[in-house]
């Protein structure tokens, strides 16, 4: 299971990096969203998967799943939401001002 999820995270990272490298600002935002998904999965994997019960001490169990990555991810989810929201509005405002969603055109280059 761990290996499979890691490979999935790798695929998502590849997709994210490819999207980030493009010129369209929308693709870049999508790329950053996908990248955070990939990272959340990776963090999850690091704590080991399906090895113990839910990290609630109310559930009596001799072994709990690692809670630390979960706390990290919870923080990361909220932060990545904030970043995505900010980027989206940034893109939207730049589009309003410059009439372009292309990073190259924004710098004053017309299309080649």
């Amino acid at each position: 299971m761990e290996t499979l999820i890691t490979i999935l995270a790798g695929v998502l990272v590849t997709v994210a990096v490819y999207l980030l490298l493009s010129r369209s600002i929308i693709r870049i935002i999508l790329g950053s969203a996908v990248l955070s998904h990939a990272v959340h999965l990776l963090l999850m994997v690091m704590g080991g998967l399906k090895k113990g019960s839910v990290p609630l001490l109310g559930e009596v169990s001799d072994r709990y799943t690692d809670a630390l990555p979960q706390a990290l991810i919870l923080t990361a989810i909220v932060i990545s939401f904030a970043v995505t929201a900010f980027l989206l509005v940034l893109a939207y405002r730049t589009y309003q001002e410059t009439g372009s969603d292309d990073l190259r055109e924004m710098r004053g280059f017309t299309d080649e």
Partner: protein, 801 residues
């Protein structure tokens, strides 16, 4: 004693109240400010008897104890002299500035900067910890920068401020490196502890580099050759500032540093030669260049440089006393330090008075150009008298204090001839010669100040204003200094016994008897070689002054015209140009390029490390089982991910992103993370709504119009980053190098009373992270809000202006 620590902070605290006092009484603000240095001066004066009795006073509180940084204040004879200068001259300067600056200037800024400087300067001289000293040291540079640029609308002011900042701060950074080297040797930041311990480290490899770096700090601050070029440009500051910072106090911080560190580095040949040669050459060069100046303030600037060189060279010679313990010879050299301290005080009195005189002339005649001035004696009698006293003292004539210290200076220089160690040989004779030549030029420019300003023909048609005497209040401060100049001449041993001798024991802690062995200062010491030198200075100086117009043209000859200023300007603009070229080469403004740098470095570093450590341990034995529906989920996510690259419709892209998000929520359920699953579902919903909202306004995602080679590069980078991440993640899982820290959190209930471990981590164990996260979220919200609202005010004015 807490008093000294308080003395440092009182000016800073007072600065906080300046704006509100300014609002209340804008035209009386100076009088309120005057109280502070006056009170500090009086409280320091009360320490004189105790310090003269050999007592030292120190107080410590912890600042950063983990880094060995304690806020230790230390009052001994040396710091007391400087403390008195700072507060005493400070009081007079503030009194003077009340009349000098009109209410139209931004007085509240002026006094805030001035108080900041005063506190910082007191911090420099009272700190025993080198790190604390460094902090205050740079603070004086910053406040000096702000004060020079006080009239910031003038280009010359900004240029001068920047120049002084660049030179003194880079010197300060060098000094910091020197301090750290000292710490590396002795393991202590305390100056006193260093003095006590340094004997074991004089052969350490870092000893000489540390010394040179500390000296760089001192030389840049005290405007020693070749770093003196910032001081003439600093004269763009208002005259009270020039009198205070750039003649009486801040430029003496370098001298203080040399005096204070004599105990550590003194006795070493490198220290002796560097300090004394740089000093004596600065004395000569400064006085030589002062003669060519036509602006009175520039003349005083070069004269200050030259006088600082004089004091510096004396401290250099005095350090020889530490070469071999206490002996008759070391008393002879310590006499140089005694002279240095004496001249330090004298210089502050006469140069402060002269600066104030020049300010008065400038204000009441409208110019500082000696070619346009003349004949002011009858119009400004009081100003003239003060100028006469100051200039004649500077020239080394009786009955003024400059005569006494100049004689002591000559005597000290003459002792170098007898110096038997440091393999000086017959070169020693150069010291008295350079000192003598420098003094001749000093005499010449002192005469220029008096005679060309106050004698000769009055030229009212060439002045911007009708010249008249300054108001009473403005004359008080320079008159007090003028009186001191005369008083010190007649009662030199009051200064000598109460201030100089305690300072001597502070500079030579290893030679406890040295203070008592100093000869008392005599007004008349019979016709000796030093006196004949003075007579020579007066005769030749007078001849040179009389023939000034015949030989002045020599300054226009080649090497004298191309000064160090053009070197500085050239170097600065060259650095600016080349760094622009260099930065523009990699800072292209394209996100893609920056990301390629980031990913490239990430790839090279991590992949390189993996290769270097050899092999990656994979271990799949510990994996848990996979069910069929999990396979389907993973496969679905992969397809959705890859499809995102190819879609051309916005809605499809959002949907695919949603597929990824909700699938991850499902995984969180499978992986026993209910909190995450809940959060992910809600966040994904809100994010999708947000995407839809924004995409409503954004254009269609177009097919990428990037050329094929660029696409292939992107793909290659993407695939290699993806692969590397996978490999690293697998390697991490394969090896178990550290114990898990998560067991600790399973005691959550006992420790926090909560049973949800994830939430106890968020709210309790790592609450600080969560708090910052909340702040980040808030900032993002504010950012979004302002981004959207910003445009309503866009019209109208240009931001660039």
């Amino acid at each position: 004693m807490l008093t000294i620590t308080l003395a440092i902070f009182i000016p800073f605290l007072a600065a906080l109240f300046v704006p509100s006092i300014y609002k209340w009484k804008p035209d009386k603000i100076g009088w309120f400010i005057l109280i502070i240095p006056l009170v500090l001066f009086i409280s320091l004066v009360r320490f004189i008897p105790r310090v003269a009795g050999g007592e030292t006073i120190s107080h410590t509180f912890d600042w950063i104890p983990s880094a060995n940084i304690y806020f230790t204040t230390y009052l001994d004879g040396l710091s007391l002299i400087f403390g008195l200068l700072i507060t005493g001259v400070g009081s007079l300067v503030i009194l003077y500035s009340i009349y000098y600056l009109t209410a139209r200037e931004s007085l509240s800024h002026f006094y805030v900067y001035l108080l900041m400087f005063m506190g910082a300067m007191l911090g420099v001289v009272f700190s025993d910890n080198m790190m604390v000293l460094y902090v205050f040291w740079e603070l004086t540079s910053i406040s000096s920068f702000l004060l020079i640029a006080f009239w910031y609308h003038r280009k010359q002011s900004r240029y001068g401020a920047q120049k002084s900042m660049l030179i003194t701060v880079s010197g300060g950074v060098a000094m910091l490196a020197g301090f750290i080297m000292l710490y590396a040797m002795t393991g202590s930041f305390s100056i006193r502890e260093n003095i006590a311990m340094i004997g074991e480290f004089t052969n350490h490899a870092l000893f000489v580099p540390a010394m040179i770096l500390v000296l760089l700090g001192a030389f840049t601050k005290s405007a020693q050759f070749p770093f003196h070029i910032w001081l003439p440009d600093a004269m763009e500051a208002p005259t009270p500032v020039s009198a205070y910072l750039h003649s009486a106090t801040m430029v003496k911080a370098g001298i203080y540093l040399v005096a204070r560190f004599t105990g550590i580095f003194g006795g070493d040949a490198v220290w002796f030669y560097t300090v004394s040669i740089v000093g004596i050459f600065t004395l000569f060069w400064g006085s030589f260049n002062a003669v060519r100046q036509t602006d009175l303030k520039a003349l005083l600037a070069y004269s200050t440089i030259s006088q600082l060189g004089l004091v510096m060279s004396l401290f250099g010679l005095g350090s020889a006393a530490l070469h071999e313990g206490y002996s008759d010879q070391s008393v002879l050299y310590a006499q140089a330090t005694f002279a240095a301290l004496f001249h330090l005080i004298n210089h502050s009195t006469f140069k402060g008075a002269l600066f104030m005189v020049v300010g008065i002339v400038d204000l009441n005649a409208g110019t500082r150009d000696v070619r346009r001035l003349g004949g002011l004696m009858a119009l400004m009698p009081v100003t003239f008298t003060i100028a006469l006293i100051g200039s004649f003292s500077m020239a080394g004539l009786p009955p003024f204090n400059g005569f006494l210290s100049k004689e002591m200076f000559f005597e000290a220089m003459l002792t170098v001839r007898h110096l038997e160690f440091f393999s000086i040989g017959s070169w020693g004779i150069l010291f008295p010669i350079l000192a003598w030549v420098g003094s001749i030029f000093t005499f010449v420019y002192s005469m220029i100040i008096v005679f060309q300003t106050f004698f000769g023909a009055h030229q009212p048609e060439r002045l911007d204003r009708e010249a008249h005497e300054a108001p009473m209040g403005m004359l008080i401060a320079p008159s007090i200094l003028g009186l001191l100049v005369v008083a010190v001449f007649f009662f030199p041993n009051v200064v000598g016994d109460y201030l100089l001798r305690p300072a001597m024991s502070a500079i030579y802690p290893s030679l406890p008897n040295i203070a008592g062995a100093m000869k008392s200062i005599k007004i008349w010491h019979g016709p000796n070689l030093a006196l004949w030198m003075t007579v020579g200075v007066v005769v030749i100086g007078f001849l040179l002054y009389a023939s000034l117009k015949y030989w002045r043209s020599m300054y226009k000859v080649g090497p004298f015209r191309w000064g160090l200023d053009s070197v500085y300007n050239g170097a600065l603009s060259m650095m600016e140009r080349s760094s622009t070229v260099l930065t523009n080469r990699y800072m292209t403004g394209y996100l893609r390029h920056y990301l390629i740098y980031i990913f490239g470095i990430f790839l090279i570093l991590t992949a390189g490390t993996l290769v270097l450590v050899g092999g990656v341990p994979f271990d799949f034995s510990n994996d848990s089982s996979i069910t069929v529906n999990e396979y389907i989920l993973v496969f679905g996510m992969m397809v959705a991910g890859v499809l995102m690259i190819f879609v051309s419709s916005r809605v499809t892209a959002i949907l695919l992103n949603g597929v990824l998000g909700y699938s991850i929520a499902l995984f969180f359920v499978i992986f026993r993370a209910p909190d995450l699953a809940l959060t992910q579902i809600v966040i994904e919903t809100v994010t999708t709504a947000l995407f839809l909202l924004c995409f409503y306004f954004l254009p269609e995602v177009k097919k990428e119009r990037v050329k094929r080679p660029a696409k292939i590069v992107n793909l290659l980078i993407a695939i290699s980053v993806g692969t590397l991440v996978t490999v690293i993640a697998l390697a991490v899982q394969g090896s178990n190098m550290f114990d898990s820290i998560s067991i600790y959190f399973e005691n959550a209930y006992e420790l926090t009373g909560g049973k949800n471990i994830v939430n106890t981590i968020l709210g309790d164990f790592r609450a600080f992270d969560t708090m910052l996260e909340v702040v980040v979220l808030f900032i993002a919200g504010i950012g979004v809000y302002t981004l959207v609202k910003l445009k309503s005010r866009k019209e109208g004015r240009d931001v660039e202006d």
